[in-house]
């Protein structure tokens, strides 16, 4: 083994440190690209954007650890957003509409899980279908219409400041990170998730309730997507059907960047959070530097490929 590979290997064992390094380097680069970047106000505002992706990435981490995938999260977000907005516009009191939205999100996730667990269909093709179905429903039910006449308190979710300058949703995100991290690392459920991802057959022989776990993680991400939808709708203060496009790329990229193997079996919440932050910083920095959004998508696409490639390169080097 060459010296370079040995050094790289040791670094890999502390993937989170590497990511932290990348994050710092990125911040430096972005600050150079735009003087507006490295201000507290900007940093905190950036966090508004990444909370939505981050919440979904938390759920996606568990799914990817089990070796699955969910391409329908962006469409699910749109569906929940219109579910909230348009039932409210139809007369339902907003708190109930929000509740309804949460139910819709979970039901969509559960819908995915039915095809994946009971019919044993590959998550890829199921969520490809629901990606179209949910988005189609969201758009079809609402057309080009939008709902914006929310009561002022609704803005609290997405636009509020707590403790002075801290965005409200950041607190929600930190809470969610804590909860999911605890679930993944301290509970039997989390252990089951890793077991299924590493060796589903052995997990079955050990009595792991595989079906129940899978239903839970796909329904669970539905709930996280729904919460993200509430925050998003509140932040842009509008509910419309053609949103959420391309979100799944951000979410999956964040998880993979954070170190999870696309084949399943490994991944951490810390890594995912770092991945989310890196992507958010990247997007924000590019935005401030005047880079158009499609260029951002390009960079993200390339980033995803590079991240997966590096992941698997090191993983293979270990075998």
């Amino acid at each position: 083994m060459s010296a370079a590979t040995a050094v790289l290997k040791r670094l890999r064992f502390s993937r989170e440190l590497v990511l932290l390094g990348v994050l710092i380097a990125l911040i430096i680069v972005m600050s150079l690209l735009s003087p507006l970047f490295f201000t507290l106000g900007n940093m905190l505002n950036t966090s508004r954007y990444f909370v939505e992706v981050g919440l979904m990435a938390l759920g996606m981490t568990l799914i990817i650890i089990t070796g699955g995938i969910d391409l329908s999260v962006g469409s699910n977000l749109a569906l929940v957003s219109v579910a909230i907005g348009f039932t409210f516009a139809a007369g339902l009191p907003l708190p109930l509409a929000i509740l309804f939205g949460l139910v819709v999100g979970m039901a969509a996730g559960f819908f995915n899980s039915v095809f994946i667990t009971f019919l044993d269909l590959h998550p890829l093709v199921v969520t490809l279908g629901t990606f179209a179905l949910f988005q189609g429903l969201a758009y079809g039910l609402t057309g080009a219409r939008a709902v914006s006449n929310f009561p002022p308190w609704f803005a609290y979710f997405g636009q509020a400041y707590l403790l002075g300058a801290v965005p409200g949703q950041l607190i929600i995100f930190v809470l969610a990170v804590g909860i999911v991290w605890i679930i993944l690392s301290r509970t039997s459920f989390g252990r089951y998730v890793y077991a299924i991802g590493n060796n589903e057959e052995a997990a079955r022989f050990s009595g792991v309730p595989i079906r129940r776990v899978k239903v839970a993680i796909y329904t669970g991400i539905g709930l996280l997507v729904a919460i993200a939808a509430v925050i998003y709708t509140s932040r842009v203060y509008t509910a419309r059907g053609d949103v959420g496009l391309g979100l799944e790329l951000d979410v999956i990229s964040a998880v993979v960047l954070g170190g999870a193997s696309i084949y399943g079996g490994s991944g951490t919440i810390a890594g995912t959070v770092l991945g989310v932050v890196i992507i958010a910083i990247l997007r924000n920095g590019l935005l401030l530097a005047g880079v158009p959004s499609t260029w951002q998508l390009f960079i993200l696409g390339v980033l995803l490929l590079v991240a997966v490639f590096i992941n698997e390169f090191f993983r293979r080097g270990e075998e």
Binding site: I183, R186, T187, S188, F189, R191, Y192, Y194, A195, N198, N199, E201, A202, A203, R204, F205, S206, G207, V208, P209, G265
Partner: protein, 519 residues
């Protein structure tokens, strides 16, 4: 090597003839584990050479070297008298060596005719396209030569297991093989289909094609082979003419231990019935199985590989579902449709394949042991910190050595890994324990520890089913011996009456009995 020796067919085979292939001094290691060491094996033209040994003896590794899947670490391979070195199965095929693995490696969606030609030069039409007519003709010719009448245009997935086997053989012959290696060819065949296969093998040998026959079915081996080679734990034990051996001797060579008791089992006092199975059947795997396990007794389930023992145990544990019959726990009928249900009823199964079914290799020893009891040691979902203590306790009780409780279980030796699997099952504190080959690939020291454990568990009142292909083990440990053959229970012997002969007879149908014609 100057006198011609007689084959079982009575015709002399000139021993001066160059072997089709010959392995000499072959050693192969995987990581730190030696799969085969200093093994010699040769195949003569026109002979059927059986290769026998327990699981893990090195048979498939050896043949994979011949087939070009692995290269030997040491030793030589000669084909037709000349040194050969293969880097892929294609090279082996070009040299005339064809392997028919147990899974057959056919393409289910493609037709019979096409399966014969995948990867090979296909006949072409005037326009340069593939000549299907010619391929179908060739397929028809080959199949008829093998004595079968199959439609070359039907998809392979529609054929029966026996027919698929024949297609696999035809495929080997299209490649003009001089040596055909068959791995457990009859495991899915009926008696009549086996006869047919033997006829085909006879035709092959008449053409001076050599056949390597890997099988656990002793009566077939004695019926069809000219020579037999026995491997044990990666070593070459003996090669002899089939006429020089008998079933008992063969088993002794395979298993290796003299026929004295490995372990002194305590006096058993069986209590009430813990588990009862009535008329359990699963299509194609087992049928009409009645079984009783009482508290405090160890019931041995003997039989050859493929007899249906594992499938039976897995049905009881809820891995697969039986088609008919009933399972009764403590007298009450239960419907077991998942391992969780079985575990709730106090049943636990220790699987055959340690690495792929029993352990999660990247997990720590602790996490492997506690995987089965996470629901019991968690409060509100949180894994209790008593987890570590539990794992430590089992590590001590089972003398698991070689790594710390938080180290990945992949670091342990085979024997210790097996103990981890056993620990996981014990952690659940089941009333009924189904052990499937619990001491396979385990060193003698660990084995006796596992036996002592089984003895203690029985004394505590557990009911144990011991599935094992090691006759000595079954005879030493079991209070009662059940024998399965081709999906049915064919014998039951209380402790005093079970002997090697009686068990082997029930397991194989006996060397004197004919293979019965089914259906």
């Amino acid at each position: 090597m100057s006198e011609p020796e007689e084959t079982s067919a009575g015709e002399p085979v000139a021993t001066g003839a160059v072997p089709v292939f010959e392995l000499d001094g072959v050693t192969k290691r995987f990581g730190g584990v030696v799969a085969v060491e200093d093994v010699a094996f040769d195949l003569r033209p026109g002979e059927v050479h059986a290769l026998v040994g327990e699981n893990g003896a090195g048979k498939s590794t050896l043949m994979k070297i011949v087939d070009g899947l692995y290269g030997p670490d040491e030793g030589t391979l000669e084909v037709g008298g000349e040194a050969a070195s293969f880097s892929s199965p294609r090279d082996a095929e070009a040299s005339g060596i064809a392997m028919i693995p147990q899974e057959l490696d056919l393409f289910p969606e493609l037709t019979v005719a096409e399966n014969l030609f995948v990867g090979r030069k296909r006949p072409r039409t005037r326009w340069g396209g593939l000549d299907w007519e010619a391929m179908r003709e060739e397929a028809r010719k080959r199949l008829t030569a093998l004595g079968v009448d199959l439609d070359p245009t039907s998809a392979v997935k529609r054929l029966s297991a026996a027919e698929q086997q024949i297609v696999a053989i035809a495929r080997a012959l299209v490649g003009e093989a001089r040596a055909v290696i068959m791995d457990e060819p009859t495991s899915s065949l009926t008696g009549r289909e086996t006869r047919q296969l033997f006829g085909i093998i006879g035709d092959l040998t008449a053409e001076d094609v050599g056949v390597v026959y890997i099988s656990h079915r002793l009566e077939e081996i004695f019926e069809i082979s000219d020579r037999i080679t026995v491997l044990r734990d990666g070593h070459h034990i003996r090669t002899a003419q089939a006429s020089e051996l008998d079933a008992e001797e063969l088993v002794r060579l395979m298993v290796g231990r003299p026929l004295n008791e490995l372990f002194t089992r305590s006096e058993s006092s069986p209590g009430e019935t813990a588990l009862e199975v009535r008329g359990l059947a699963r299509d194609g795997q087992f049928e009409g199985v009645d079984l009783t396990l009482r508290r405090g007794e160890i019931v041995g389930l003997a039989g050859l590989v493929g007899a249906g023992r594992t499938e039976l145990a897995q049905s009881i544990f809820g891995i697969n579902r039986p088609d008919s019959g009933g399972i009764f726990v403590d007298g009450e009928e239960v419907r077991i449709n998942s391992p969780q249900t079985a575990m709730q009823k106090g049943i636990f199964y220790v699987p055959e394949e340690r690495r792929s079914q029993g352990l999660i290799l990247p997990f720590s020893i602790k996490n492997n042991i506690t995987l089965s009891i996470l629901d019991r040691i968690s409060r509100l979902g949180f894994v209790s910190r008593s987890e570590r203590g539990i794992a430590d306790r089992y590590m001590g009780e089972l003398s698991i050595r070689g790594a710390g409780v938080s180290d990945p279980v992949s670091r342990l030796s085979g024997g210790n890994q097996q103990k981890v699997v056993v620990a996981k099952s014990l952690a659940r504190e089941p009333n009924v324990l189904l052990l499937d080959e619990p001491t396979r690939g385990v060193d003698v020291g660990a084995k006796s520890e596992i036996y002592r454990l089984m003895d203690d568990l029985a004394k505590e009142g557990k009911a144990i089913l011991l599935i094992s292909s090691e006759l000595e083990e079954v005879l030493s440990m079991a209070d009662r011996v059940l024998v399965m053959r081709e999906g049915r229970i064919t014998g039951e012997f209380p402790r005093g009456e079970a002997t090697q002969e009686s068990v082997m007879t029930a397991a194989t149908g006996g060397p004197e009995q004919e293979v019965p014609e089914n259906e």
